[in-house]
Symmetry: C2
Subunit: 399 residues, 2 copies
Amino acid sequence: MSNPPPSGGDLSRLRQLNSLAAIRALRGAEPLTLSVLAERTGLSRPSTKDVMDELVGLGWVEEVAPVGGTMGRPARRYRFRADGGHVVGIDIGAHKVLAALADLDGNVLAETRHTVDPDTPTEARLDAIDKAVSGCLALAGLTREDLWAVTAGTTGLVDPKGRIALSTAILNWSGVDLAGRLARMFPCRVLVENDSKLAALAEWQRGVARGASDVLFLHAGRRTGAGLIVDGKLHRGFAGSAGEISLLPLSQWSAGSAPLDDSPVVPKGTPPQDAARYVLSAARDGNSAAMESVERYVEVLALGAAMMVLTVDPELVILGGSFSRAADVLLPPLRRRLAEVCMRPPELRTSTLGDECVVLGGIGLAINHLDSRLFGAEGGSATPLPQHADAKVTSIASR
Amino acid sequence: MSNPPPSGGDLSRLRQLNSLAAIRALRGAEPLTLSVLAERTGLSRPSTKDVMDELVGLGWVEEVAPVGGTMGRPARRYRFRADGGHVVGIDIGAHKVLAALADLDGNVLAETRHTVDPDTPTEARLDAIDKAVSGCLALAGLTREDLWAVTAGTTGLVDPKGRIALSTAILNWSGVDLAGRLARMFPCRVLVENDSKLAALAEWQRGVARGASDVLFLHAGRRTGAGLIVDGKLHRGFAGSAGEISLLPLSQWSAGSAPLDDSPVVPKGTPPQDAARYVLSAARDGNSAAMESVERYVEVLALGAAMMVLTVDPELVILGGSFSRAADVLLPPLRRRLAEVCMRPPELRTSTLGDECVVLGGIGLAINHLDSRLFGAEGGSATPLPQHADAKVTSIASR
DNA sequence: GCCAGTTACGAAGGAGCCCATCATTAGTAG
DNA sequence: CTACTAATGATGGGCTCCTTCGTAACTGGC
């Protein structure tokens, strides 16, 4: 009756689990002693030592000099070798290409930005991606061979194979086999994902949504989008289109920031990319026409958000995207409207990761993927570190 | 960075996992031989034997007479002792109380129905529940002490503690501490859940949604509701209100079957509970006014469904509820409308479990709960069968 | 400079779980 | 009655984990 297939466990699987637990405890933390590590993993000290010996041998972990000053014999300290490999997150937007290079801990080592246009031809856009990543690598003194995984986030609907199923924001972007093109560019695993989903992941991993099991991330910017964390996991949906509420005309999400851009308070001749900011700022200063426009914008935003909130009932809603800088203006009406329809309105928070949300989420997804590959999926033992974790594969992570 | 806490594994945990795998393989199947069992669990035969010996000792499994006729030495056969314990699922609707008693395999052994009204007083309704369950027990020759878990499903919003947060269909039902009241009634674990959620679970466990990882269940009846399976698990949401799209006035779901009930084709004097059926039947026969009413009804149903489908992107949408008997009339327009807004419209199927959906889901939830308690949550060994699995607890399963 | 106190390390012994192997057993087929 | 088949049961070995205990390294007081 229960659907999950029965999974019998071998002896070595136990070690796998424990190794993974140790790595998780180590990652992102300062170097830990055996005793602390034993406590955190729930293992005994001798067993922890065994696990550490193995991981040190494989190159995943290294010992660092003990620190003195305490009573008693100084404890050995181990740290995760975050510098053993590197990942890249790329944010491919309509107006920019942003790339960030990080170590296996997710620490960003270099970042590069290139400006593009919505109608930049596809080849030129791919070229900008190439240059952005090359720039990061140069800044960090690395080569493409040092990359273990690359994640690209982009506007539009990304199908499970990493192709752009639909994009209205970037000219001729629909139909591009982005995963395929990037796979030719990088000698490592390539993942492709929708940008709002990556932003949601980033907020959940290292932003204001940490620890929540169900989260709705709202991207409020020139385009409106959403990403969902459900039960502590990024939710993609069967075809990768979870959260694409803009496909419903009623939602009006496809209009993006139009309610702001078209506000009568925008001075003639304002460049379109500055219009919304102007209106939000004017609304903050009490301009009643601007406030009206903001109200209209939030009405649309809130309607789509309400649909998703009532569907998923998340603990948190995160407001992100470039307009999140005007959270003081946007949050109160958004909160009010959600409260009107929810029995228990979710807590509203503002993104703190800002512009880097998408690349950070990409980095996080890449690292998650490597984690899941840390131990040979088919019951093998741990992969030694110096090798590349994957052969060159085109398709996106299934799950 | 990763949020899931590292979980160190003890040696005995391996055995737990393997025992659980064996039970899963055994449950709901005909008696299995050691060889088959070994193959299905991935264990070796000697290990499988060990596990079986233990489970037989604990009373969870028993050996049955070997079957002859094959070449070679007859193999011992083991079966899950489904009759070792019993669970009850209760469907508390506005117009009926339906209870079903099942063994640990989910086989229904007895069923009882009581008729009530939307304005039946709470105490009388609780009395009907009591009577319905007593009836089941009497039919099966059991007593309340034989019950290991009871799940009640009811219309309305059920909070995480098993109280009715809001119900518009049943008079004075809001605010009732159903879990608390039932806990006084039964000397075992009591779970309370929204009825549409249980129906979704049933369809996923033993209905037409088997094997799908993301499913939307639509309850189309006098009231409209929904339940979600996300990533192979019943999704409740932070406050248990996932899928409660009817709270959004725009969805018009709170009107339920009104577009059908109010159709001009309904003859004066038709009892309200028969109106919708009459219209659906007339529409099937080609009555254009009836078809128009159906069109209006489906428009509402489809709008809410689209909101949820675009949010979650499920693989399947299941049409259930009493109107699902008119699926031939309802599905085509529903399919058409979903196709208008979805990049990849989910497959639409009709519920086959019918009226029993909710009680079956309740039985499934109860069994799932017992499964998760099969092995002492805090690393203990397996619970012997003859004891009750739980003390009397009031609150609902958290997860 | 020495000694007590503190903390961590490392080795040894033991238990649990799983696996591979092989002789044995209980049937069927001729 | 014999040959064949397929499952059983017992043995031995390997791996992982745990507990226990003696040893090592460093601090602080005399």
